[in-house]
């Protein structure tokens, strides 16, 4: 499959009064045509900043300090702002977690969907509004003609997220970056939205970067998964491989710590505790030396406290891991 997006050694730092925060630290990833890349990590791991960095939308004091972002052969880092605008929204579209704040409260949802078409596709307003109603039907909003003239506050969270998706689809992008698109929603509504995203992906032959902290959501939607911890990607693998045999101790710990239905143990016995990862995520202002997961890692070795392991391919399978259990400091497999 042709490569759509290739990110190499991307770093985004935030200058704060307390020091430089490396929110995204030498991240490399790629997305092929028609594929869904799942980006998983806990709060503060840098996954949202990474999403914004892809389109150079990081708000100050954040700043991309290095790296390449190659979109269909063009390095977006070298593109002037004017040309970049042709990529944003038109070729790569974003869907955010909180549709209530991402939508403008003073315009009808129909107009907000149409706006992109008027700006990017030079459509007449009337034509764009008609297309907007059609897009609302595509995202399964019942009675689209009537709901197109509603304002965001008149809609439920699930409906607002559908509007966001319709906006994102308006210009027929080839890549959709969805940042926690279902996190603010109830679980039955989440199931509807994921179902919608997956069928839209097939229908419009979209590629998807789906960012989530929810491993269930990732397991059900992604073809490939990248796991982030403290600003870095620590493991990357095909979804089935990753869930069947996680290689990084953080991935393994994360998979063990989630409660799964049907594994709570017998009725009368003691309630079964979960296998938690002890400790907490490091403060990005006071990162430990070496591997950021070292202080919480059950398999920590002396060298983990000295150097940061780079993301290296594993010999077995098309996957990569950043851990000295699996490769030495020179990247040779162990």
């Amino acid at each position: 499959m042709p490569r759509l997006l290739e990110v190499t050694d991307l770093s985004t730092h935030f200058a704060t009064a307390a020091g430089e925060v490396r929110a995204v630290d030498r991240v490399s990833l790629h997305v092929d045509e028609g594929e869904t890349l799942g980006l998983v990590g806990e709060s503060g791991c840098g996954k949202s900043v990474l999403a914004l960095s892809l389109l150079r939308l990081v708000p100050p004091p954040g700043r991309i300090v290095s790296g390449r972002i190659v979109w269909k052969g063009t390095d977006l880092m070298r593109l002037p702002e004017r040309d970049l605008r042709r990529v944003r929204g038109r070729e790569v579209a974003l869907v955010f977690q909180e549709p209530a704040t991402a939508l403008n409260p003073v315009f009808t949802v129909g107009y907000q969907i149409a706006e992109g078409l008027i700006v990017h596709k030079m459509m007449k307003k009337k034509e764009a509004l008609r297309e907007a109603a059609r897009l609302m039907e595509v995202v399964r909003i019942p009675d689209p003609a009537r709901r197109a003239v509603e304002y965001p506050h008149q809609m439920s969270g699930g409906m607002r997220q559908r509007v966001m998706i319709a906006m994102a689809l308006a210009c027929r992008p080839s890549l959709l970056v969805a940042d926690e698109p279902t996190t603010a929603l109830d679980v039955t509504i989440q199931a509807e939205i994921l179902d919608l995203l997956m069928s839209l992906k097939r229908e419009f032959r979209l590629s998807l970067i789906l960012i989530s902290h929810n491993l269930g959501v990732i397991a059900e939607t992604a073809d490939r998964v990248a796991v982030m911890y403290a600003g870095r990607i620590v493991e990357e693998a095909a979804t089935r491989q990753l869930f069947a045999s996680p290689k990084h101790p953080y991935t393994a710990g994360l998979l063990r710590s989630i409660p799964r239905l049907g594994e709570a143990g017998p009725e009368d016995g003691r309630k079964r505790r979960l296998a938690a990862i002890e400790g907490t995520v490091p403060d990005l202002l006071a990162m430990p030396k070496g591997c950021a997961f070292g202080p919480r890692c059950p398999d920590v070795m002396p060298e983990c406290g000295e150097r940061v392991p780079a993301l290296r391919p594993l010999t077995a399978g098309d996957r990569a891991v950043a851990c000295f259990k699996h490769h030495d400091a020179e990247g040779r497999p162990r």
Partner: protein, 335 residues
């Protein structure tokens, strides 16, 4: 109404609880209609038992918890704790009663006073209820509490913002434990936490229950979490309980179509498992205008002709298994 364990009189007994919020309109703020947030909820919790109250936003689960604590005054119904009618208690007596009923809130960012040191936050209930001979003794109790929830007592001089979400929730738990309550109402205590930290707090709650024999009313939306901690589960939809059963029963044999949909909607973290899912269509209706008949009929995949017309009663269809659905009329009804 339902099984309360073998201990005889339940610790908490809620009967036909209702909480209606007025919707005011016009210049005279006349009441135009009511939001029936909680509409006839009955439940029982035995000493040392965990009842999970499950539902999505707008189901009334949080309002139910607040009415039990009398943080909200219920419109009608009764709440008995250890046989005492809480709703008839004068404020002073109610304050005394709160020694035995404590609460842990969802958001540890919002529920801890940012200007108070951790030590003071945890000591406050001890100060208010005059427990311990003096300040020094109380400080020792605080140190023991912090240690018990897995925090270093040396951190007591810090402020909430210096703690991570998981640590703050531990502080919330320590504060709730301070008075040795018999019941803790935990309202989504882990849903704002990251998964790896969520597991730590669930483990803590399980351990504390075993050690101190505390009963929990565990209000949550995440059924996978609930399965770990609950003894019994009650599922709410639009202000009413639609199904209630022992943990194993409700997960193995869910009867109400809403319970089934909820269980099926949970994304499974196992890509090798094919899933069968009945995706519900549409949004939950507003509790200000609940649909007639069964409130779930507008989204129910198995609705029959009588569902929009007749409200199904909550009936016991098996030992300790209660369900409000026309498809499950109960053993006695025989159709």
């Amino acid at each position: 109404m339902s099984a309360a364990g073998d201990a005889g009189r339940p610790l908490l007994e809620v009967a036909d609880l209702r909480k209606y919020f007025p919707i005011r309109r016009g210049i005279f703020s006349s009441v135009s209609s009511w939001v029936r947030a909680v509409d006839g909820v009955s439940l029982r919790i035995a000493a040392g038992e965990t009842l999970a109250l499950v539902g999505e936003s707008g189901s009334g689960k949080t309002t139910t918890g607040r009415c039990i604590l009398r943080l909200l005054e219920p419109t009608s119904g009764s709440v008995r704790f250890d046989g005492i009618d809480l709703l008839s208690l004068k404020p002073r007596a109610m304050r005394r009663m709160r020694r035995q009923i404590q609460v842990v809130f969802q958001d540890p960012y919002a529920s801890l006073n940012p200007r108070m040191r951790i030590r003071t936050i945890v000591r406050e209930p001890l100060d208010i209820h005059g427990i311990g001979a003096n300040r020094r003794e109380r400080d020792e109790m605080v140190a023991a509490l912090l240690r018990r929830v897995g925090l270093d007592p040396g951190m007591g001089d810090r402020y909430p913002h210096e703690f991570s979400g998981g640590q703050r929730q531990r502080v919330g738990v320590a504060r709730a434990l301070a008075l040795k309550p018999r019941l803790i109402i935990a309202d989504e205590p882990v849903s704002s936490l990251d998964v790896s930290v969520q597991a730590q707090v669930i483990n803590l709650l399980i351990d504390l229950q075993e050690e101190f024999k505390i009963a929990y009313l565990f209000i949550a939306h995440d059924l996978a979490v609930v399965e770990r901690i609950a003894d019994r589960v009650a599922v709410m939809y639009l202000g009413q309980i639609v199904e209630e059963a022992a943990r194993r029963e409700i997960f193995k044999n869910p009867l109400h179509p809403y319970t089934r949909a909820l269980l099926q909607a949970i994304p499974i973290p196992d890509p090798s498992r094919a899933r069968e899912r009945q995706v519900l269509r549409g949004d939950p209706p507003s509790p200000a205008q609940p649909p007639p008949g069964c409130r779930f009929h507008t989204r129910c995949p198995s609705a029959v002709a009588e569902c929009p017309r007749v409200e199904p009663p909550l009936l016991e269809v098996g030992p300790g298994h209660w369900v409000a659905c026309h498809l499950h009329p109960g053993p006695a009804a025989g159709r």
